[in-house]
Amino acid sequence: MNEFWRLPVNVSSYGGDIDGMFMLIAWVITIVFFAVEILLVWFLFRYRARPGRKAAYMHGNSRMEVLWTGATALIVLFIGVISRGLWLDIKDPLRFPEPGLQLIVSAKQFEWNTTYPGADGQLGTADDFIRRNQMHVPVNVPVRITLVSEDVIHSFYLPELRLKQDAVPGMQIPAWFEATQTGEFTVGCAELCGLQHYRMKGTLTVLSADQFNAWNAQQVAAAGAAPGTTPALAAPVMNNEAAGSPVVAAASHAH
């Protein structure tokens, strides 16, 4: 079934739950689809007009109305109840896991700029550095993102991470993900944002903890050598981050 639906590779900690829910719903609706369509086609064949036959004269059946209304209600309520928990686990900031890395992603026509906390591990300070259309994160570490936009609405879309979240000018929208594999993955824009919407893409590079720390140290050194860019967001939106390396005990998060 995965192949039928062409789901992208999943490298997200919560992607498996989303895919599982998708598959569950896909099976439920596939079964209902075949049941209804087969019944329809069978009735059309069985009760096609023939000379001398007459249709049954009936106005309905209350018991059947109750039956199919109740059955449908039970199925959709079941889907609603199980979906709601997963939805809040992923999207409710109160349920976000303790982040190992905090980033600001600032969208503008037509690029994704990622602000890193820099040497002090704090966002909103002078040593933050910004990378354009490039995002580097460590594997197996929850990454918390604050999404902002400088111009119009964009939508931060990471197909392999099963993450999508709009970036709205004037709002700071939290999101998170945890990559479970190293490699390079797609960052795209899913909301029509203007002329080059189709080219508003970046790359997410997921590194091992050691590689990430090395990369980060290198970037910190480079940023220290050439300061100049000020962070896109001066407000200290992140205030619970432990000082020091932005990667908080990456190894302990490894699954």
């Binding site: 719903i25 059309l44 007009a49 249709a55 609603g80 999404l147 111009d151 970036a167 899913a190 909301e191």
Partner: protein
């Protein structure tokens, strides 16, 4: 017991009325609900054709983009040389034109094709005829409703010709892209877009005030609420939805227009405005709008399926209550368009549950249609084929809504081709198939001639097959991660790997479009050369089939039909035929001669 209900010699009376009406008042600035309905039909069929043409240009670009670095050579747009260099340069479509196509295809199809084809045409044409009224309650407001819609359509068309081109911020017009030409590159086009839709909104409001008033006040003697055909029921609930929803859109559009022109700051974040406010206003209108676009088709299909199956509609009362339930619940589901918008996730949880609940009345309707064909004696005339296809395809469109309604599953699916597939299964497989069913069914009443059945069936078969081949694979493109509204999808490697599917879809879409030429030919040919229809060619029950075809001005002349039974009395025991007109007296007197 009852006086003869339906006069069959009204043509003579009507002729007398006609003599006093000059051509321009009779056919152009007409107050006759039937003429206005037909005017809406010609206008919206034109826009349907135009909207389809825009879609073909989009599909060509999606299938054959120029992206040499990724190995896609591209193909020049056929006929692209005819377009100015602001749209197509040397056969290559410009991204700004693509974005305008995306926007105008959606806008034109939703507001100028499907909505008037369902409501403007059939509420006007059918309501007085199905309730036994000589005309609408407010004929002049009705005329104004059409001419406002016409003016709105001209404005929308004109926007293609202004500097900067037509609106290109999507048919949803999300702010601030739609209010700031620094971001979109389009100034006048966006203003015309807002203005045109505002005017169209007033047209819809005038129409719905009229439909509701007419339905409440002008029903023929004996036409109780539960003797109304389901078409009329659906049009009544639709009119109420329009009356309550369109002012919200119009308000939002006026705020947008002020932001664009006189410097207000409703939606501008840099000066304290709220971009999400537009989304709330738009979708608070927009989701009832979805039901505005499907309920009338459900009504037509119910009438046609009962007629084709020669059987009373299964669960008439359940059908009516399901329409009303959809009308109510439709108001509290708009947030499911905004799951990813940054709206509080607790709200997302609420909207998910309400959205799933609306599946229940939809399922009630589907099962009742199945119940209607069960143990019927089914005649497969062209309208019946389209109506049955409506059921088959609406099932797909409804079911593909479930994963989108489940918010966590919507995370990967939102703003992808899965949504494009879903909306087209509902609006084409549902609404447009319902419209084709309605046009082929009531064409004989409108013009006195039937459409050609063979051409009708060929058109149906090609449309059904190529509709599915075009839109079903889009589900997989979406779950595969293809975003909407991409000028060049091959820019993304994970989408480029599915390019074969996109090329396949484009060819199927072109054939689907070509198949509509058969319908056009059949429609125009049958206007003049079709077989003469008589009053009741489908042997149906409801009141419109007791009037001459086409009905004269005033419909039944000086006499008012009297209603004795419901509209679905097919195959009743003891009746002389397998149908009984609503006007037939309850004593079981033989049918009046109708031919």
């Amino acid at each position: 017991m009852s006086t003869a209900a339906v006069p069959h010699d009204t043509a003579a009376h009507a002729q007398a009325h006609h003599e006093h009406i000059p051509f321009i008042r009779k056919y152009i600035f007409s107050t006759d609900h039937k003429v206005i309905g037909i005017q809406f039909m010609f206008m919206s069929l034109f826009f349907l054709l135009l909207g389809g043409l825009l879609a073909m240009a989009m599909r060509w670009q999606i299938a054959f983009p120029y992206n040499e670095t990724a190995g896609f050579q591209g193909q020049p747009l056929p006929g692209g040389d005819l377009l100015p260099e602001t749209m197509v340069v040397q056969g290559i479509m410009l991204p700004e034109f693509y974005n305008a196509l995306v926007t105008m295809h959606g806008t034109i199809m939703v507001f100028f094709a499907i909505m008037p084809l369902l409501v403007g045409v059939w509420a006007n044409y059918l309501i007085p005829l199905q309730i036994g009224a000589p005309d609408m309650a407010f004929p002049r407001i009705n005329m104004m409703s059409f001419w406002l819609a016409f003016g709105a359509g001209l404005l929308m068309l004109a926007s293609f010709a202004v500097t900067g081109g037509a609106a290109n911020a999507g048919w949803t017009g999300y702010t601030p892209l739609s209010i700031n030409d620094l971001y979109s590159g389009v100034k006048t086009g966006q203003q015309l877009w807002a203005l045109s839709l505002t005017i169209l909104g007033f047209s819809s409001l005038m129409g719905s005030v009229n439909y509701i008033t007419t339905l409440i006040n002008m029903r023929a003697p004996g036409m109780t609420w539960f003797r109304l055909p389901l078409s009329t029921w659906a049009l009544l609930i639709t009119s109420i939805l329009i009356l309550l929803a369109v002012p919200v859109l119009a308000g939002g559009l006026i705020m947008m227009f002020f932001d664009q022109t006189i410097g207000t700051n409703f939606f501008k974040p840099e000066t304290g405005g709220q971009p999400l406010l537009w989304q709330h206003l738009f979708w608070f209108f927009g989701h009832p709008e979805v039901y505005i676009l499907i309920l009338p088709a459900m009504g037509f299909v119910s009438d046609i399926i009962a007629n084709g199956a020669r059987k009373p509609i299964f669960g008439y009362h359940a059908m009516v209550w399901a329409i009303i339930a959809i009308g109510f619940i439709g108001w509290i589901v708009w947030g499911h368009h905004m799951f990813m918008s940054g709206m509080n996730p607790m709200l997302g949880g609420f909207f998910m549950v309400t959205t799933l609940i609306i599946a229940v009345p939809s399922a009630i309707k589907t099962f009742n249609w199945l119940g209607t064909v069960w143990r019927g004696n089914i005649r497969f005339h062209t309208p019946m084929l389209f109506a049955l296809s409506f059921v088959a395809l609406f099932v797909i469109g409804g079911l593909s809504g479930v994963p989108l309604a489940a918010a966590p599953v919507d995370i990967p699916l939102h703003d992808t081709y899965f949504v494009v597939a879903h909306i087209h299964y509902v609006l084409v497989g549902g609404s447009l198939f319902g419209i084709f069913a309605a046009i082929t069914f009531w064409f004989p009443k409108m013009f006195g001639r039937t459409m050609n059945e063979t051409l009708g069936k060929v058109h149906w078969a090609l449309t059904f097959v190529f509709f599915n081949l075009t839109f079903f694979p889009m589900h997989m493109l979406g779950s595969g991660g293809m975003m909407r509204r991409l000028y060049d999808p091959t820019q993304y490697p994970h989408i480029a790997s599915m390019q074969d599917t996109n090329i396949f879809i484009t060819w199927c879409a072109l054939i689907l479009f070509a198949a509509q030429l058969i319908f056009m030919w059949n429609f125009l040919w049958s206007l003049f050369k079709g077989k003469l229809a008589g009053e009741n060619p489908w042997e149906a029950n409801s009141l419109e089939w007791t009037a001459p075809s086409p009905p004269p001005h005033g419909n039944w002349g000086d006499r008012v039909p009297v209603v004795h039974r419901g509209p679905y009395e097919y195959s009743a025991p003891g009746a002389t035929a397998d149908y009984q007109l609503q006007t037939e007296a309850p004593t079981g007197q033989p049918l009046p001669a109708t031919h």
